[in-house]
Every structure is written in C-alpha cells, then in structure tokens.
Symmetry: C2
Subunit: 550 residues, 2 copies
C-alpha cells in the first residue's frame, strides 16, 4: 500500500530533520552536485597549494604543526570552562574561536581564544624548530572568529591576563590548526555585543571611548553572532534550566506531558489576535493562542494532571518590552479533590522551586549576567514562599499609597501595567519579596471558562502570578459543568455551538472533574528573574510585529 504513494510522500517521513526535495529533482541534480563538488575541491586544493607555497618561502621546521586540519581523528579535547590550576604545566588541546590577535614581533604573537564567551590567552612564540616564524605569521593572519584547534602547555602568567576571563592561565602553543574560517568582514563583532545594551535605540552612535554602540535591533538582526557573548550563553543556560525545572517538578508530581495541536479548525477567540493558516487542504486553519481548551479536554479525558511546553501564537500588534507574537508557554492543568487552592498552592511551590533551584545551581551564570544587567542576582523570595494576597487587598495597597484605583474599585478594568509595576515596588518595600500572587480577580476581567467565586458573583476563583511587579502567569479554576459553561459563553457573546467550541463543550457533557491550572511564559520568567530589559533578550530568535527574521 505504502509503496504506491507518490515518491514525495515517502521523501517526507514525518521525522523532523530532513524535508528533502523530491527524488526526481534530486536525481537530476546529482550530476550537477558532483560537478560542483569537484570544482569546489579543486579550488580548495589550489588555495591550499598556494598557501603552502607562500608559507614555505623559507624552509619550515614546524610545517606539520599548523595549517588546515589534516585528519579526522585526534587528541582529547578540553573545554575552556574545564581549564583549571591542575592543568598547569600539562599539555591540552582546545577548540576555540580567535577572539582577537596581536603580533608583537616576527617571533611572538598573542591570540585571545574564546569558547562559549569564555576567553584565555594563547602565546605563539617561535623557539627554534618546535615553533617556527612561519607558524607565528600564519597564526596571526587568521581572521577573527575563525575556529582553531590549538595544542599547548598551560602556564600561569605573571601578572594575570586582565583582559581574559580565564586570567590566571595561559596557553603556550605548540600546534595550531584551522578548523573553520570566518569571513574577514563580519556585520557585527562579538566584542561589540559584549558591551552592555545601550539606553538609546538609535543606530550609528559611539560611546565615550569611540566604540560603536550596538542597539538591540542590530544585535537581533545578527543574533548568531550576538548569542556568542558570555552573557547570552548564560541567559540561555538559565532559560534551559527553567524549562528543565518546570518539567522536572511537574513530572515528579505525577503529571504527564502532552503535545496538543497548534493548528486548529476554528478561531476560538475571534478573528483579531489569531494567525490564520490559509492552505490547510482546502480549508482554513488557525494557530493556537494557548493550549487552554485542549488541556481542559485532556482533563475531561481522565488525564487528571497534564502539562505542556510549546509555542503560543498571538497576532496582537503589541510593540512593548514584554510582548511577543510567538513565545514558549509552560502550561499545566489538574483536577483537585476539594478546593482550587490545592492547585494554587501547587503552582506557588512550583515557582518557588524553580527560583530557589536557579539560585542554588546557577550562581556562576547569574554572576555573568549581573555584569550586564545589574538586577540579576537580587531576586527576593521572603521566607521561601509566595506572598498571596486577594486582588482587592492589592488594590488597597495601591490606594493607600495614593494611586488612583477608581476604575478597579468599580470593576471597570484590570490593573494597568503601570499599576502592576507600582504594586510590585510597594510589595517589595513592605514584604521584602519579588514574587507574589493575587487571588480572586473580578469576574469581568477574566475569560469565559473561569469559575465564579462561590459566594460573590462579581469575583472569580482566579489568580495571577507576578515577578518584580510584572505578570508571569494567569490561571483559575475552570467551569467543569457544560450548562454553566454554555451560560458563561453566551453571557460573553460567544456561541457554544460554533465549530471551534463544540468539541470543547461536549467534553464537559460527558462528565468532568473540577480542575484548575495556569499558563506561564518561559521567556518572561527568564526576563524578570534576571532583571533583563526586554523579553527579546530571553528569546533566541524573537518574533514580533516587526520581526520575522532571522
């Protein structure tokens, strides 16, 4: 049966690496490929020959100790981050980029080597036959950012090399080979991206020392270079850690990870705010704005406790420091036995766990980020637990501090972003904490699936989580009765019989336990925990209304 499929279908085996063009195209292209490969090989050989001739104008006693990497096997490689005092007077081999190089004389050159942002100085000193002058010349001729494989003896420099992040060690080169060449001209230098982000967003500025100021836009346009800084390497180690700690905590609690569909058959929240997939086999599809309906359907399907890590798509034209059109959602949903505060307490402990583990396990990375973002490292959790306030107690703190809360008092709007930030400051002053929760939000500012407060119909069993006064999570007890859900939807102008809702509402008709959950934004947790300026700094390749590249 399968073999009668068109070859293209077979080419596309639903494993994610390799979406190849069709085989016929490939077949036709094969001869061209071989021709091109031969041509490239011939060109390379020619270049190597010329380089070899150039280097050997005089006899070179070290000629097999540098050059294009000659073989595919080799010595044990040591990572720069593993280099320590116990390597002194020992030979090591590292693979690193050339961060910069300086020729002191025909016999002496200094290379700054860089691996994942960490730097160490390498000394190439001609010393008779072992290291030749040609070798020194060749080493210093390599373009910045090229990858080299360097072997040498580790020594203790006196004084330490102040400009290197590994200042107490130095590598005395005995062999150096080129592994991957960088172009002579790069659109941005890593050393420029290593400077703290500027206050200005204008291009073409220079700082007091005449060095170019690289704006966030330029950094993001050249993200592959930007990510090479020690700070960015540390930020994404923290981001990976948050993701790992979230899944670790959820799985330990007995929750199961699911991957719900991102292409939906109908827009569930109106046409604005949703991206449309225009060519779904003759139909329109829509990108999920959250896994909300699906994680609830999994609860209705007896899964009891579920979580998901996946992309969330928002077509909102919001150009702020904390909004993205695509971000990573950390979602969870679970049944409870008696009261939704069981879930709220679980979620509070989850966040406390993540923050405390970050602080315990990632001191070094936080210290690196601190050099660029001074608030990194000062995140406070009082007494190792979340501060939980009722929404209107939060409003009262604001009102007592002289903030106009008339609209909130009258259930007109939710807290504004400015009010949230102010509340964050006030709570930090009063309670010495950067993590708090507001509970019992007004029903009017929450979505249709939110469960009403049992005694006050103007309130709801819902909560938001804040870090440094900015929202990282929204959650609630959900309506689990089909009739109640339909009434709530109708009251908010939504049609329970619409195509996008039928399966969802039916999930509750067949019986569903009371449940609650929440949705966290990974990028925001990283941003607020580290005190970054912008959510884009916590996103490898951000997407916003202005940015679809790289």
């Amino acid at each position: 049966m399968e073999s009668s499929l068109p070859t293209h279908a077979k080419d596309n085996p639903n494993v994610s690496a390799d979406g190849a063009p069709s085989k016929n195209a490939l077949k036709k292209a094969q001869k061209e490929a071989e021709k091109a490969a031969k041509k490239a090989a011939a060109k390379k050989a020619d270049e190597e020959k010329r380089a070899a001739q150039q280097a050997q104008t005089s006899e070179d006693t070290a000629k097999d100790k540098y050059g294009e990497l000659p073989q595919e096997e080799g010595p044990i490689i040591t990572h720069l981050k593993k280099l320590g005092e116990d390597h002194v007077d020992k030979e090591v081999t590292v693979i690193a980029r050339i961060h910069n190089s300086r020729s002191q004389s025909a016999k002496l050159a200094f290379l700054m080597l860089r691996q994942q942002g960490k730097t160490v100085q390498a000394v190439v000193a001609a010393n008779g036959e072992a290291v030749s002058r040609q070798m020194v010349k060749w080493a210093v001729s390599l373009s910045v950012n090229s990858f080299v494989r360097v072997t040498g003896l580790i020594k203790k420099p006196d004084p330490p090399v102040a400009s290197a992040s590994i200042s107490n060690l130095e590598l005395h080169v005995t062999k150096i080979y080129l592994l991957a060449r960088a172009a002579e001209q790069l659109p941005m230098q890593v050393k420029d991206a290593e400077r703290p982000p500027p206050a200005t967003a204008e291009e073409g500025q220079v700082d007091a020392e005449g060095a170019p100021i690289v704006t966030l836009k330029t950094r993001l346009d050249n993200r592959v270079i930007d990510l090479q800084t020690e700070c960015n390497q540390a930020i994404f180690t923290i981001s990976d850690a948050v993701e790992g700690l979230f899944t670790e905590y959820m799985r330990k609690s007995g929750s199961r990870q699911f991957n719900t569909p991102k292409i939906l058959g109908a827009a569930t929240e109106g046409g604005s705010g949703v991206f449309e997939v225009s060519n779904y086999f003759g139909k329109s599809g829509f990108l999920a704005q959250s896994p909300q309906l699906y994680k609830q359907m999994l609860i209705a399907a007896d899964c009891e406790s579920v979580f998901e890590v996946g992309p969330v798509f928002r077509a909102e034209n919001s150009n702020t420091h904390r909004h993205l059109c695509e971000f990573t959602g950390l979602d969870f949903e679970m049944v409870f036995d008696h009261h939704y505060h069981e879930v709220l307490g679980f979620a509070e402990q989850l966040i406390v766990f993540i923050i405390q583990e970050l602080q315990a396990r990632y001191k070094d990375e936080i210290a690196v980020v601190h050099r660029y973002f001074p608030r990194a490292g000062d995140f406070r959790i009082k007494d190792g637990k979340a501060l939980r306030l009722k929404y209107f107690d939060g409003i009262k703190i604001l009102r007592d501090a002289g903030v106009d809360t008339t609209e909130q008092d009258n259930y007109v709007t939710d807290l504004t972003t400015a009010q949230e930030k102010r509340l964050g400051q006030l709570i930090r002053e009063k309670y010495d904490t950067d993590f708090y929760v507001l509970d019992e939000f007004p029903m009017v500012v929450r979505p249709f699936y939110t469960k009403q407060h049992p005694t006050d119909p103007k309130l709801s069993n819902s909560y938001d989580f804040f870090m440094r006064g900015e929202e990282i999570m929204s959650g609630a007890q959900r309506i689990n009765d089909a009739a109640e859900l339909e009434a709530s939807m109708r009251s908010k102008g939504l049609d329970p019989d619409a195509e996008g809702f039928v399966d969802y509402v039916n999930a509750f008709r067949q019986g569903c336990r009371p449940h609650a959950g929440g949705g966290l934004g990974l990028n925001r947790i990283v941003m607020f925990f580290l005190g970054l300026d912008n959510v884009r700094q916590a996103t490898p390749f951000p997407r916003d209304p202005q940015r679809l590249r790289p």
Copy 2:
C-alpha cells in the same frame, strides 16, 4: 509608556492561559453574565429540590450520605491505582466515574467505578439506617460516566470480581456524592472503545457478540471519551515517558533545550509541503517544517549542543498509517571533535537508553497495551546496543533475500517503505534486534545541508534509525562551510541568496564548527515501540489532511 497601549494589548499578556476578549466587551457582558448565572443557579436549585422530594417520599435516614456534593472540604482521597491489600477492612474515599451500574433489588446495587481506565466494584447495600433504600435507588439512577465521590469499606470479594481490573478488592459504600453529572446519551461508550481496534474501517458493524465495532475514525472523533480507556491512558504514559527520557538524557549530556520560532519569514523548501500563515502583519509567514536551520544556527552561535521538543508542520497530502500534518519532533544537534560517528554513537545510546528505561520502568503500562496490541512488549535490542550497518550492506541483505534492489544499486531512489519493512524482518531474523541504523546513505537522496562522504562523492555522512523496520530518525553531519553549502544548494536548485536562506548561510560565514544531529518523531517512537497500528493512536489529537478536529 505601557499604560497608553490599547486595552486589548494589556489584556493579552503573553502568558498562555488566558486570551480574553477586550475589557469593554467584558464589561458590557458582565450584567448578562450575572443574569445567566442567577438563572442557572435557580434552575439547579429547582432540580435539586425536585430530586430531594423524589428521594424523600418516605423518611430517609441516610439523607446526608449521598446527593450533590455539599461542601468544598473533605476527606483524604485515595487513587484507585493505589488501592491494595493493606486497605482491606479500612475506610477509603475515592473519586471515580460510574463505568456501569446494576440494580439487584430495592436493597442492593452494584456500581462499577472507573478511574483512568482502572475499575473496581462498589456495593451499595441497604442495611438499616446507615444505607437507606432511597440511597440505593439514587445511586443506581446516576448516568454512566458521571463522577462520584464514594466512601466505603474495602473488602475482599469471594470469588474475585472477574469483570473489574481490580478484581481482588471491593468497596462497600457508606457515602456517595455526585461530583459531575454525565449526559444520559453519549456519542460513544468507553466500554466500546475498550475493545481492540477493528480490522475493518467500516462503520456500523457489530461483532460476533452483537457489540458495536468502533472504528478508529469514530474513536478519534470522540477522542475525549476514547482517551479514557486503560489502554490509551497507558499509551500516553509511555509517550510522556519517551519525552521525559529524551530530555533527561540530553540534559545530562550537557545539552541545552531551545525553542526556535515556528513562524518563518520565508518557505525554505518550496511552496508545496509548507503551511502558509496569511496574516502576519501585512506579510506572509510559513510554518516550520523542521527546526533544522535554526538548530544549526544555534550551533554556529557557539551553543555546542542543543535540543528541542516542538511541533513540526508538514503540508504533505500523505494519508498513511504513519504520516501526520503536525507531530512532535525531538531534535538535537551538536558539535563533534573529530568525526561525526561521535554524534551517531551518542544518538544510538540515546535510543537504547529510552527503550531500556521504558522496558524497566513501565512494565505495567506495556502489559496493559499488550492486551490490545499483541506486539507491545516484544521489542528486542540485541546485546543492549544498536546494530549499525552501512546503507549498501542493508541493500545487500535485501538482494540476498531475493528483493529487487536495482533502483537502489543505481542510486536512483531511497529504500521504499515496503523494502524498509522487509529489511526490518530480515534483520530481526538474522540479528535478533528491532533497532538498527543505516549509515552512509547515497548523497542523492539526502537534503542539501548533508555533508558528503570524504572519499566517495556518491555517499554522504548521514544515517537513518529504524524501529521494527520503520524510520524513526533521520540525521547527518551537516556542511559547516559557507562556500561548500552554497555550492550544494545551487546543485540542488536552491538559491542561497533567497530570503529564507540568507541568515542561515551567513551563520556559516562567520565560522562554525563541524557538527551533526538528527530529528526523531515522538509519535513514531511510541507507535513502533508498542507495536500500534497507526501513528494516530500515539497522538492525543491528530492532524492529517482529513482531520482538524477535535
């Protein structure tokens, strides 16, 4: 600055739970909501009153021991899967669905309770004041699939209850409350979904005993009910485990998890096969067919070893047992020191780790699935390691067995699906293993970014992984030199200067280490490991050319 934003932007806080309608709409809807809620509450009260009247035609001595759940606090709840011999003669409270019920007499009823597919019998026996006749009548009147909270004494039935999965225990009910009511008519019964999937795809059939045969289509149409079977619960416990084991292994190796964008600015693999996002702020976007280009850009950005778990979108009109339009990719990419076999060996160990841990930790779940899919549990890995063959050695095995391999011998096409399956059988017979790897595929059948074999230009440094003769992973060493990459792209008819490729090719211009990686399909690993019939059975809510719902 933030507070001057339109309220809708503020409403959409980039945390994933709650994409609410605008506040004005909410505000207007508030009064309606309260009205509707009052109406619903009144209706409910009325129903309760009538039910109470009905039950109390005679005086009811047990009237506070059943009914609608009266309170929000309560006893410790025991999960059915935790019930054991040590509970005998003790009181427990469980929350479970009514799987079915049977009235023996006015004084005696049997309820089969079900939680996550596990069943236990509950006995409701009128015995003077503690359990009344009214209580027995009410309990047996509850609709199938409703959730109840039941308290009772655990007893050992003699003989065991053959029809219950927990046959050695029985619950003698003292209290029973309704937690969530199911509709009287359900579109499908869980007990029908519990039967093994039929060989026929035709609707409306009955089996030899007259029970309806529920086809895969009907099951998937009613997936929330279908997922409630013990078999499906076990399948998704395995699926969660595969995801967890993959990330565990990757993280332990020092790799970091990244989330790369799923909306891209340009289609990188031609117009067919890619879903288009038509409304990206005046531009077109495209859904990523794999994270391939981005994970390589992360390698070029010095991330050294990265992995990703995320959706992969394929707009291929492939209607087979193993193709989906959206599936979960488990991708990894990493630098190597000397040879791509370092990465290939790592990946082999990764799969062996996943399979061996599944076999060790999930015996119970595998045994449950085995009752429905007989091949579950018989997965073989010889000597705890992958069998690695060269592609053309695999072809030779086929040829020696009489299979026509003329096209493969002449580099015309890749293995067909039928050939792959046959090879899987032959290898199982010859090597006693269900997991093997083919290495050194012909260049012509691999994508443009694949590294050529160092000595034979017709071959490549690439590999596929197979489970039970079907592909679960495709991977390779990648070209890490910009000029070589451009030549390869041109030879395959692709333009390196096209918008979708510029950032990718530039990533290699600034220097990139040799690297390799691969992409696994989560759904396929689960399917082939358990010997399921169809990849949809390993996908909570599958998407294919015919299916966008539920």
